[in-house]
């Protein structure tokens, strides 16, 4: 484990000097890769911003401050404000469960947690229509009590929560499994309670993974289109989130408006990617630091005492 980073750097150097490709091949491969990404990733981003500002900043600003757009902003914030905290609490519980214990059915649970990823967004909306729609399971009951879920805000929140459900859990499970539970077990022997361990050791340890999970979950919650479009009913000013507003403006040939709203969502996506990069850097720099201190201490492997069996 120790010195993995430096070893990797050394092996990369060795590859470069002794067994690398010729400069011509390298340039060719890099150009090909960049051309592919340019066509599929860069061109759309550039288009979003250039179309949004194609008539200058005045129409851009006017499009964003339209009443319908503002109410879409508000609904989007509300939806993410409910869905994200729910999934964060779930993510922490699920990651704790999966990374700290072995139990029967663990791999089934992991598969089920990932399920919403493999379900089409349209189907994610459909299942809630089947449950709560006018002709769904609970439809008659709901209309009796005059509660509206489908074509109303609660349905949008439910569908969004479903679609973004695994995002925090996934990030945290990966980070917590990689970091192990040595510190937590040490805290336990020193008399810390479960809550103290969680708040003062585990969460600070995984803070970057948690931050990225939250930001990604938030970006997806604000940007969800398929599932929300099935349950929303597209009522202007009432049940339109930002992505649905983009669709409406686009279909009305209001391209400046559609791309102005898109530019907000695209900026959110770019910020999300920045946070991910920062999280990766901080993890790898901490890993390098830990490697360095491990070498400095140079504790012989045999002297590490396993806590297993010591604690009742």
């Amino acid at each position: 484990m120790s010195g993995l980073v430096t070893q990797r750097a050394k092996s990369a150097q060795r590859r470069d000097t002794q067994i690398g490709e010729s400069v011509l091949v390298r340039v060719l491969l890099i150009t090909l890769a960049l051309a592919f990404l340019g066509i599929f990733l860069i061109a759309p981003i550039v288009t979003i911003f250039s179309a949004a500002f194609s008539k200058g900043t005045g129409p851009y600003w006017a499009a964003l401050t339209q009443d319908d757009t503002l109410s879409a902003v508000w609904l989007t914030l509300l939806t993410a404000g409910i869905a994200v905290p729910l999934n964060v609490v779930f993510g922490i519980a699920a990651a704790w469960l999966i990374s700290k214990y072995d139990f029967w059915g663990k791999s089934i649970l992991i598969t089920v947690v990932d399920l919403p990823f493999s379900v089409s967004p349209v189907i994610s909306g459909l299942i809630f229509v089947l449950l709560f729609g006018a002709r769904g399971w609970f439809g008659p009951l709901l209309s009796e009590h005059d509660v509206k879920i489908i074509f109303a805000v609660p349905g949008i929140v439910m569908a969004t929560t479903f679609v973004t459900f695994p995002l925090v859990a996934r990030e945290l499970i990966a980070v917590m499994q990689a970091q192990g539970s040595d510190e937590e077990e040490a805290a336990l022997t020193l008399g810390a309670s479960g809550l103290q361990i969680l708040l003062r050791i585990t969460l600070p340890k995984v803070r970057w993974g948690l931050l990225y999970g939250v930001i990604l979950c938030n970006a997806r919650a604000m940007g969800e289109f398929g599932a929300v479009s099935v349950v929303s009913g597209h009522i202007r000013g009432l049940t339109n989130t930002l992505p649905l507003q983009v669709e409406i403006l686009y279909n009305e040939y209001n391209f400046v408006g559609a791309f102005a709203v898109s530019s907000l969502l695209c900026a959110l996506a770019l910020v999300t990617l920045c946070v991910k990069k920062l999280a990766e850097w901080s993890v790898s720099s901490r890993q390098a630091k830990r490697d360095a201190s491990a070498r400095a201490l140079a504790v012989p492997a045999s002297s590490t005492v396993s806590l297993e069996g010591v604690i009742p």
């Binding site: 390298r26 990404l37 469960l97 089920v112 189907i123 439910m158």
Partner: protein, 274 residues
């Protein structure tokens, strides 16, 4: 709680109870509702609904373009991963970060942006129109959108495997007289194959269900450019719940099949690494 086999930290019961409750309420209950609804149709009715001409055309387009898009991603994904891991060039970390864009960008935004780029008067669409290639509102447009959606999958599964390959084996191949291309084909590629297939399967599964980025560029003509998720939406809008559910059940079955395949592939990847 006898089925817990390892772990000394407190909170097992609480976290298990909460996780199972939340998963059950939010994921399993709604999915069960759909499966029960679909199975209440009766076999012959179900079969007619899922095999009418319009549905068959939609499956063909969805599976075909998802396959083509994922295949394109398998080839270019390995190339991008290779370039990012092996070479240093200015802007490398920005490019590396941008690979995840399709995860973070709302699909509707991606959809209208791609449509604008590839429309007849778009930046790239205009050039392609000159050589007689029409992208927007054709099956090719659907494939392009699905390629966009699938970009991160192959890159992100291949990247870590490529980082772990020991240079010794490549050196050994070079010492034994293999050319660089032979080394890639006979030594590196076999090591990357499980991860590439996993990424391909993940991209394929995601593409099958994709909706937002496709509906704008496809033009949505029944029998020609109508993908399966859109057919489900259309049926829902006509209040044909039974028809929508039947086709959704077929798609769900396909996604579960893909999930199983991905799990098997990941097991193979881990074995190949060990």
């Amino acid at each position: 709680m006898r089925f817990k086999t390892r772990g000394v930290l407190p909170g097992f019961g609480l976290s298990l109870g909460y996780t199972v409750f939340y998963v059950g309420l939010l994921v399993l209950l709604p999915l069960a509702a759909m499966i029960i609804k679909a199975s209440s149709l009766g076999p012959s009715e179900f079969w007619t609904k899922v095999t009418d001409d319009r549905a068959l055309a939609a499956y063909k387009l969805s599976f075909g373009s998802a396959f083509a898009g994922s295949l394109l991603n398998a080839v270019f994904g390995v190339l991008v991963a290779w370039v990012l891991v092996r070479y240093r060039f200015p802007g490398r970390s920005i490019v590396d970060a941008l690979v995840d864009l399709p995860f973070a960008l709302p699909t509707a935004v991606a959809g209208i942006a791609l449509t604008t780029v590839y429309a007849e008067h778009g930046v790239l669409g205009e050039q392609l129109a000159k050589i007689g290639v029409k992208v927007a509102f054709t099956p090719l447009g659907v494939t392009m959108a699905l390629t966009f959606i699938g970009i991160p999958f192959v890159v992100r599964t291949v990247q870590p495997v490529l980082e772990e390959i020991d240079p010794d084996v490549e050196e050994a191949a070079a010492v034994l007289g293999a050319s660089r291309f032979q080394t890639f084909r006979r030594v590196i590629f076999p090591a990357l194959l499980p991860a590439t297939l996993t990424g391909f399967a993940l991209a394929f599964a995601r593409s099958l269900g994709e909706y937002g980025s496709v509906v704008f560029i496809s033009g949505n003509m029944p029998m020609r450019t109508e993908i399966t998720p859109l057919l489900i939406v259309t049926k829902l809008e006509q209040y044909d719940y039974a028809g929508a559910t039947a086709i959704a059940a077929v798609m769900l079955l396909a996604s579960f099949g893909m999930l199983l395949l991905v799990n098997l592939l990941e097991r193979w990847t881990r074995r190949a690494e060990a």
